[in-house]
């Protein structure tokens, strides 16, 4: 067993883990943060995307021990003070989900796209950037709309915060 210490959704966590434990297993099984999903075993589907030190990663591609001393944010950690994150609201408003299984990974990837590419995203950029996330329900049509709308809302949110 190996000891890991990291910050998950703002909380400090220390645990002893089998060295082969994946970050996604650590989140789901040790911390019971079951919003991060597993949809494949080849790092293709993106259902397990979380943010590691502010960047999107597939939590099935790294070991928990590699996340030692890191800051991890999961889908459970992005709504603040009971208010949905603008990207979460956009997915609901634009019907960007059906079964909900790929949704946490989609939302975490979408926020990362905005962080990297800005808030004014055209359709082709969004489609290309979603390369690492599979959805079998929506045909992506409404996910693309949701990401575009969520990106615009994320740009507005800091302005609102500044005004308050």
């Amino acid at each position: 067993m190996t000891t890991v210490s990291l910050t998950v959704n703002g909380q400090s966590v220390t645990a002893d883990v089998d060295p082969r434990t994946l970050l996604v297993q650590f989140l789901r099984e040790n911390l019971r943060l079951t919003g991060t999903h597993v949809g494949c075993d080849t790092s293709q589907c993106g259902a397990c995307v979380v943010h590691l030190n502010g960047q999107a990663v597939k939590a099935c591609t790294i070991l928990a021990v590699q996340a030692d001393a890191s800051v991890v944010t999961t889908i459970e950690g992005i709504a603040e003070g009971g208010e949905l994150h603008p990207m979460q609201s956009a997915f609901r408003e634009h019907h960007g989900l059906q079964c909900g299984y790929c949704t946490p990974g989609m939302i975490m990837s979408a926020i990362d796209i905005v962080n990297r590419k800005g808030s004014d995203l055209d359709e082709q950029t969004i489609r290309a950037e979603l390369e690492g996330n599979l959805c079998r329900c929506t045909g992506y049509h409404n996910i693309v709309k949701a990401v575009a709308a969520g990106a615009r809302a994320m740009a507005r949110a800091p302005l609102q915060q500044a005004a308050e």
Partner: protein, 787 residues
Amino acid sequence: MTATGIGAPVRRKEDQRFVTGQGRYVDDFNRPGQAFAYFLRSPHAHAAIRSIDTGPATIMPGVVAVLTGDNLAADGIGGLICGWMIHSKDGSPMKAGPHPALAQGKVRYVGDHVAVVIAETLAQAKDAAEAIVVDYEVLPAIVDTAEAAKASVQVHDVAPDNTVFNWHLGNREETEAAFARARHVTRIDLVNNRLVPNPIEPRAALGEYDPGTDTYTLYTTSQNPHVARLVLSAFIGVAPEHKLRVIAPDVGGGFGSKIFIYAEETVCVWAAKKVRRPVKWTSDRSEAFLADAHGRDHVTHAEMATDENGRIIGLRVHTTANLGAYLSTFASSVPTYLYAPLLSGQYDIPAIYCEVDAVYTNTAPVDAYRGAGRPEATFVVERLVEKTARELGQDPAEFRRRNYITQFPHQTPVIMTYDTGDYAASLDKALDLADYRNFQQRKQESARRGKLRGIGFSSYIEACGIAPSQAVGSLGAGVGLWESAEVRVNPTGSVEVLTGSHSHGQGHETTFAQLVSDRLGIPIDQVSIVHGDTDKVQFGMGTYGSRSGAVGMSAIAKALDKVIAKGKKVAAHVLEASEGDIEFKDGKFGVAGTDKALGFGEVALQAYIAHKFSGQDLEPGLKEGAFYDPTNFTFPAGVHICEVEIDPDTGVTRIDRWTAVDDFGVIINPMIVEGQVHGGIAQGVGQALLEGAVYDQGGQLVTASFNDYCMPRAIDLPSFQVGMTVTPCPSNPLGIKGCGEAGAIAAPPAVINAITDALGHEDIAMPATPQAVWRAAQKARMPMAAE
């Protein structure tokens, strides 16, 4: 229409938990003392098992038990079943080979279940599985659909020529006569490629046994938990029906693959009692590829006869359907009664004859996948119609229009009675939205850039709202296909609806609440939808075949009518009026012609406190149930138009435009319906351009991961233009037809018709990969050179 009633694009109630990571799927459940199951699967497509030595595995760290087919047999656990009896042309019953949950003497496909290890952790279970020693006598395998009946390899003893049945439907003599007098006959050979359903949530099962009460609980990724309970108890015999609770919580997509009752959930329930521990299994994606039931896999030759006026006068079809190594739960119904009855399409075809030979092979079982038989039928009809129009030199849209059925009801030669529709209306709207009149200009513009542009039509029909119980019983179904609902009104006026339908992405918590809100005049926040738990919902047939709206919601509507009728009785007592004078309108029970009225909540309270009537006059309480059995299938239909642009140098096909105009009857929530259309099209485009399950000749699945099996990604698809026309369904109280499978049915022929139009070459197989399209483009350019 109110803001939350029928027809309103209400945002989904269930989304709050899904967007915050609070959904609860089977793998999110953990029970105290839980152990983990890992299945040792056959690495061979076909082998006799000489012996299994579990000894080395049992002493591995953390191992609780290692169980094999011998243990199952010793406990009297039965095999998995196929619930639909098909008889061959000669009257003989289909040949169903044994299907044990853990292999007994033989394995028949790569991924077949050999043994299960139960251990403290999943990692320990996997480690121990590697220590099981299996002595296999490897046998030759047969995987090819068209060759199976001729092969020397025999998958099951009961089927000497690997033939499950030779079945037929239609009027043979009249069809032969039609072809004899035809002016023109169009012929086509088609392969409907094998697909892997791949819901993003893999299957999972968590079995638990309580020795105190001698009861079992199974959490499972099911589209129909009551059917699972029935099969597990009555046929497989792992637990008595009244002592088995099956819970299907949030389920991450199904597309048919979670209808069936598989080996893994059988073993988890059985083993939970055996080891006196909760036993959990979660499929990984590789296992899903190997052992989830696959879809499609047809090889077809079909011919269409037309007369001198360009009217279709006959259709004959021969299909070989690969059912895999075992008959899955509804496998036999898919290439028969869910297939051939749709071969009339939207067309008035007086003579149709279809023969289907179903075969065993050493491949994963094949069963219903989104559309189930209807996409296969539509692919045959719409490829043939397109090819016929081209051979006759006619516009494909106008050729279709000339042959459309226009009078309803319409009896086809293949069982179905179409109740209503307006196919030309959908075609006109689709042509308009697709800007068909300017297609040639766009084609020329593409040509200037060295690209090939093509347009493809698909006038699909499907039969859904499955199904009238008596009718399907006469065709071999082992079950009735009605649906149940119970409406429980609480004393505070809030409402719980218990439904036998199951939502795994369809949004029932919202749409069903819209119906209740519409009928009772209460806010949708006052309505809870309860599903997916056999201890709560008395019985139900589940969700597949676009039946939740047409059948499931009709049951709810029926129960709501009873609630309103009972409410009138209560109101009559309270308002001291005669029951006949009570009207229910806008959420109020009022006395006709007066201003005396009670709100719905007041009547609910009065029903429970029962102060205003005696128990002899009226039973207290407000709770009603209903079973709704449909009187006909429903017939959604529409026109999809696909426009592609092909780069002849690379063979890459880009979908430039997609237009869908569908007639789903009355629509409860257009936002959700459009979402279903989008998702269906994506799966159909996946089949046409990207997806294909491939076994090598030895029976190894070479497309067994998302690295090897090409799932549609966002970049592969365009945005879709979706329109609607509406002819209400006359056979159910809500006028609903259903929308879940339309896109997956319509899309493949639309894509292939567009590609063949662009290339000027008819011979292209699905998936039309860049390589396949490039080769076809070369053939079209230089017919001799590419041979």
